[in-house]
């Protein structure tokens, strides 16, 4: 793998104006029977209201959902039509598992940078409470056969293939199609490989809750969140949790491995419902409307790993993407003021940091001269992350981008010099997306 930075093509800037999300809610609670479209429309409307975009024709609205019903083929366009944006605003759906929201942002900012559009909203939504349920493959085959049959006799014959066990519905799972291991089991394997301790994971989880709670108390989310369905804060947040409480939880992943199981419901993200949206624009568009400019969306990189044959852990793709992104921009870990590493599991953060600190790994996998570097923990997920906020898959990217943009803006204002944040999101399928956000 080459470490020679490829030049960043010179284009105009894509800036971040602001973000909005609805409070994230644990599955099966406040947002039961609330659809992806309901939630994304709510996040969108909050953003429109905040920046006075009513009736505005934006360049594009892009987003997606990971758990999506086939009837929602135009989920984002339908949400736009239900919003107070101009109905002439185009939209499309994307899906890259948990990286959906960040990938949507990469897509729209690239168009802004190229001058194809002036403004855009990127985001995502996911619901586990209102997840689509599909019928079994055998039932589906029988129904399709019956549908295609020309005669009544043939239709009846097709339907007679159905057996009682075929009627059991299939609920979506986080299982990887090729390995049949859940995401948690995959991460348990990676955790074992890197020898990450239970204590270290619980500490990450504890910090996440403490940091998110402090940020809420300080009003950090006041202009980032719109209340929805009676919820005003993320209801997974446990400000009163302690290391002792976390230590009491039973492991839920990795029980079948020889190594001790360390991953619990406390240091793994819960299934969550929610939606988020971020407003991007060219600098000129923002200035023309006298909208605030928080930060620049500088650059992004995606990566993938071969987890199917165990060469790398399922959620380790960002580990490869970040060195490439920073090299291209002539930066090192020390040049960053904030690291927003999505907490799919506490151990995902820890295996990421461990890999970057491992000389041999960085040499053999990335062709670096030595270790990529050590992350200053005081810069890590300073206002909490997914362990505390929850993780409605496609909505997480938007949550993090808005947080990162606000953080660098405040830091730059405070210090009088530019501030940078790195965003890293791992995703199913061995995928990862990372991005660089910088103050203006």
């Amino acid at each position: 793998m080459s470490t020679t930075p490829s030049p960043v093509p010179s284009t105009r800037e894509a800036v971040i104006i602001g973000g909005n999300r609805i409070p994230f809610s644990r599955a099966g609670k406040k947002y039961v029977r609330t659809s992806n479209q309901d939630m994304f429309t709510a996040a969108l409307e909050g953003l429109v209201a905040r920046f006075g975009l009513q009736g505005e024709r934006l360049g594009e609205v892009v987003g997606g959902a990971v758990l999506k019903h086939s009837k929602n083929f135009n989920l984002i366009r339908e949400s736009v039509l239900g919003s107070s944006l101009a109905p002439t605003t185009p939209a499309y759906d994307v899906q890259q598992a948990c990286a959906t929201g960040l990938e949507a942002a990469i897509a729209v900012t690239n168009k802004i940078k190229l001058g194809q559009i002036e403004s855009a909203i990127a985001g995502g939504t996911d619901t586990v409470s209102d997840a689509p349920i599909v019928v079994s493959d055998r039932l589906r085959a029988a129904l399709l056969d019956a549908n295609h049959a020309k005669t009544t006799g043939a239709k009846v014959k097709a339907l007679l293939q159905i057996r009682p066990k075929d009627l059991a519905p299939a609920t979506p799972s986080t299982g990887e199609p090729r390995t049949h291991l859940s995401m948690g089991e995959h991460q348990a394997i990676t955790t074992a490989k890197w020898g990450i301790t239970r204590e270290a994971q619980d500490e990450i989880a504890y910090n996440s809750h403490q940091n998110l709670a402090r940020a809420w108390e300080a009003g950090f989310f006041d202009d980032l969140v719109t209340p929805f369905k009676g919820l005003t804060r993320d209801d997974n947040l446990r400000p009163d949790t302690s290391l002792e409480k976390l230590a009491k939880l039973k492991p839920v992943f990795g029980a079948k491995l020889a190594d001790p199981a360390t991953m619990t419901a406390g240091n793994s993200t819960p299934l969550t419902d929610g939606a988020s949206a971020v407003l991007f624009a060219s600098r000129a568009w923002a200035e023309e409307r006298e909208l605030p400019i928080l930060a620049k969306f500088v650059d992004a990189e995606t990566a993938a790993v071969d987890f199917v044959h165990g060469h790398e852990g399922l959620l380790m793709a960002p580990v490869a993407a970040v060195p490439r992104l920073l090299a291209r921009n002539g930066l090192t870990l020390d040049d960053l003021d904030f690291l927003e590493i999505h907490e799919a599991f506490a151990s995902t953060v820890l295996t990421t940091l461990a890999a970057w600190e491992d000389e041999e790994y960085c040499r053999t996998e990335f062709g670096l001269d030595g270790a990529f570097g050590k992350v200053d923990r005081s810069k890590l997920n300073v206002n909490g992350s997914s362990l505390a906020a929850g993780h409605p898959f496609a909505a997480t990217g938007g949550r993090i981008i808005a947080t990162a943009a606000k953080l660098v803006a405040a830091k730059a204002k405070e210090t009088g010099r530019p501030a940078r944040a790195l965003i890293s999101v791992c995703a199913a399928g061995g995928l990862g997306a990372v991005a660089l956000v910088e103050s203006v």
Binding site: R178, H180, K256, L257
Partner: protein, 317 residues
Amino acid sequence: MTVRGTQSAVTTPASYRVTDLPEVPKLGGLFAKGVAGSAGKRPKGEVRLPEVTYRVARVDTAGEAAHLAAYQDLLGEPSSDVLPAGFLHVLAFPVATAVMVRGDFPLPLLGMVHLRNVVRVLRPVRLGETVEVRAWAQDARAHRRGVQVDLVAEVLVDGDPAYQGVSTYLAKGFTAPDGAAPADESPREAWTAPLPTARWKLGAGTGRAYGAVSGDQNPIHTSNLGAKAFGFPRTIAHGMYSAARALAEVGPARRGEAYEWTVEFFRPVLLPGTVDVAIRYATDVAEGGADVASGFVYDGWRSGKDTRHFRGTVRPL
């Protein structure tokens, strides 16, 4: 045709008499014959194999499309007109079984233990090609628990070997003939499970499902009563099901057109059951742990235990 990296091609021993069969026999009838004949095949004297090769000169694969699709669907092979090695094994298996149910084949069909398989695909065989299938038994030799014997099946296209499969079976309590090679086994070392790369949840019907696509309806795989009769508490998965699934997971893109596929069986997989599997690059397996220098090594064991089920390799030739 020469294939890089292979040793001399397996071919019918010169002294063997070739007997032509008009078509691939039906496994059901062979099993019935095998069950009936098994009782009479008891250890007495040294094992002498019949020096005969069964040959089906023309097997038209054109009619196998639905069978191939069912096989691909069950094992996870991608939809393709190239016949996977496991499917060629299925095609040739009845001819090898026909050898084993001959009256002069000295070992009982039922109760033989499948020890290992070494398969080579030397060139791709495509759906629609007409092939020749040959099978014979060879090399009865000592095993610490009896005698082991190789059943060889060969698939030829235009006279050239395209597939060669050697299935090694153990007949407990039998005696190897004079001059047979000594047992080549060393005591098994303690084994610790590696980190898995996949988890297979095998339902109670797994044996019946593979039985339906392979034709191998041996009762130990398809009925709990049948399994109990042979000392198993429940049905067991076909060894070739596990091996073929591992082969499918490596996939055509990585195994190439010509490849070697091996499997060695340890404890059987009881159904229903969960098997943890590690399918790894040979280069990623710790020094000395890989049986091959290139390609893939796969291991299967009982989820959460050190009960080893199988180990094998898949490598491009």
